[in-house]
Amino acid sequence: MIKKYLGSRWSPFVATFSVILFFYLKDALATTSVVATSITFGLPLAMAAMVGIMCERTGIVNIGIEGTLLVSSFIGFFVASVSGNLLVGLFAAVCMGAVSGLLLALLSVTWKMDQIIAGTIINILATGLTSFFYKQGHTLPSTFPEIDIPGLSAIPFFGPVLFMHGPLTFLGFFLILVLWVALYFTPWGLRSRSVGEHPGSADTAGVSVVRMRYLNVTIAGAFGGLTGAYLTLELVGSWDRGFSAGRGFTALALMIFGRWNPLGALAAALFFGVAQAITNQLMITEVVTIPQQFTNMLPYVLTILILAISAGKVRAPAAEGQPYEKESA
């Protein structure tokens, strides 16, 4: 049993850590930097994937993550720059994300629209609105500063990797863990999953499917808003058209890659982050000179290969994509 567990799940981690150790001994600075940067690259993807997971676990397909990121980062940036207060901007971004989630819930739960179409509407509406209303000349008063946790951040390797980030990075990681715990160890999680797997069973147990779906899709939207806020208010510090640059779609793939499990998706996102950071590092050091396009292909090729080899049926929540008809037999 333990052996099987090790063989199937933990071996990638063991392998990852041995590789990191090997390179750390060779070049501590660069290795630390690559691992730390892979968190920078991976975290927004992981957070965006959580939006998908929360929705899909209750049976709502959300391909509008990209739109949510775009519109909430836009609002977050503008409110923060107009009000001159980052926290107000953060709050606005989270609210905007929640509103976009609410819209998705309205379209797909109440109106029972095709959920892929609903998500597409959110995406192109977000693109059109943000692009149309964008106005140049606003700047943020500041960005969320990096917090170096005293003491811990001085530890070699682990300090820079784990304890030197902005507040939203810590918050993001924390919330991903919270989501994982909540999903598997709380009544809310049990109910959410049952709504996504077999809404009838939840309904007959007195759990309102509609309320659960509204709640979760809205919270997911708010989480998307936080992701947007992270991108603009902490990571970059500015906003521009097309700001989210496809992260919402990649997140969708990561969600499936991570098998709808928050930790799985986090691992998948960090894997993407590592691949991106390594691609950069190869260019930075110029030790190996292969055409940059090939190093850029790396994460995509690896993802496809890993999925093809590990295969097994990835099982989506069973009731996903279907509106719940309370009165059907």
Partner: protein
């Protein structure tokens, strides 16, 4: 009566979307009437305008079809963009690298190259789905990026135009260029023909029935002796092939070479159009013409009324919203019976 309602819905949806768009323009201090007038007169008001609209609609029809066919077979092909790029690149190569052939041989060969490589890109995702159970949404998203990178590499490396600094292939030979017919884009008629053929295949043939049965009930299809795996392979092959052909037509008929920026976004518009047409191959045509016309006339609108072309995205989103949301449908009491369910979860 039912017939009347079937066109009434999109018309009302358009009207509402335009009204909201007008409001937005007013907010920006522009003149919506002037904007719309220029939008329509430049998209449909002259033969040159119509030609441009149809030219823009051509790749959209084809990529919309590529999505539609896969949707019918129960697959969500987000990879049209990558398949289209593969087709564009392959046809460009065939168009400039093969010499000494007359038009009627060279052009079909170049088109075939595009179709084939598009299909190849599609079938990779199909095979991974059929044999390894890897979800097509992941693989097609990954393949989109992969093809883009590969194209960038080839267009800046082995396929680069000699002496050129940009990443682009040489221009295709005139023997591989799609000629114009009476000032109208020939590609458009190919696209229409393809849409009609696709419609006819689903309506009338056993092959269409096979694919559709798999899309609607995989288990019943298996019970009825339809190979689900083969259907997945076939639909991704055809979807990819169509997308590749679309890329080839753009390359050989419009752009004249492979240059990555010239094909941006076509595949993603195809998804929207396919959804707007609710996976009906014929309904892709008006959707694509609407998109093509509005996108093509954006410049004129800005020229005449000073309205940012971004408003067009907004209006198109609203059209999609009002066509698909059950708001107007309820209001005019359209009964939508027997409608193809376009998508489901990732699980099937």
């Amino acid at each position: 009566m039912k017939y009347v309602r079937s066109w009434l819905l999109p018309v009302i949806a358009l009207a509402i979307a335009f009204a909201i768009g007008a409001l937005m323009m007013k907010l920006q201090g522009a003149n919506p009437l002037k904007a719309y007038e220029s939008l329509f007169s430049s998209a449909f008001g002259s033969s040159a305008g119509i030609s441009k609209t149809l030219g823009k609609a051509t790749p959209l029809i084809i990529s919309g079809l590529a999505v539609t066919i896969c949707l019918r077979a129960g697959l969500f092909n987000i990879g049209v963009q990558g398949q289209l790029l593969a087709g564009a690149l392959a046809s460009a190569w065939a168009g400039y690298a093969i010499h000494g052939l007359p038009l009627f041989i060279h052009l079909p060969i170049a088109l075939f190259f595009g179709t084939f490589f598009g299909a190849l890109t599609g079938i990779i995702a199909g095979a991974l789905k059929a044999y390894r159970g890897v979800h097509e949404v992941i693989t097609t998203i990954m393949l989109n990026s992969l093809v883009l990178q590969l194209g960038e590499y080839l267009a800046y490396g082995p396929f680069k135009e000699p002496g050129q600094q940009l990443a682009r292939t040489p221009e295709v030979l005139s023997s591989a260029k799609i000629p114009d017919l009476f000032g109208m884009p020939v590609g458009f008629f190919i696209a229409i023909t393809l849409a009609v053929i696709a419609w006819w295949i689903f309506k009338k043939t056993t092959s269409g029935f096979r694919l559709e049965t798999v899309g609607r009930n995989k288990n019943a299809a298996w019970y009825a002796g339809i190979s689900v795996k083969r259907s997945i392979l076939i639909s991704m092959f055809i979807g990819g092939g169509l997308a590749g052909l679309g890329g080839a037509i753009e390359t050989l008929g419009v752009v004249g070479r492979y240059e990555p920026a010239f094909n941006a976004g076509l595949g993603f518009d195809g998804i929207t159009i396919a959804l707007l047409g609710r996976a009906n191959p014929l309904a892709v045509i008006p959707g694509a013409i609407l998109f093509g016309g509005m996108r093509g006339a954006g410049g004129s609108m800005q020229f005449a009324a000073g309205v940012s072309p971004d408003i067009i995205d907004l209006i198109l989103a609203l059209v999609l919203f009002f066509v698909t949301a059950p708001l107007i449908g309820k209001w005019i009491k359209t009964v939508r019976g027997n409608e193809a369910i376009t998508t489901g979860g990732w699980g099937n």
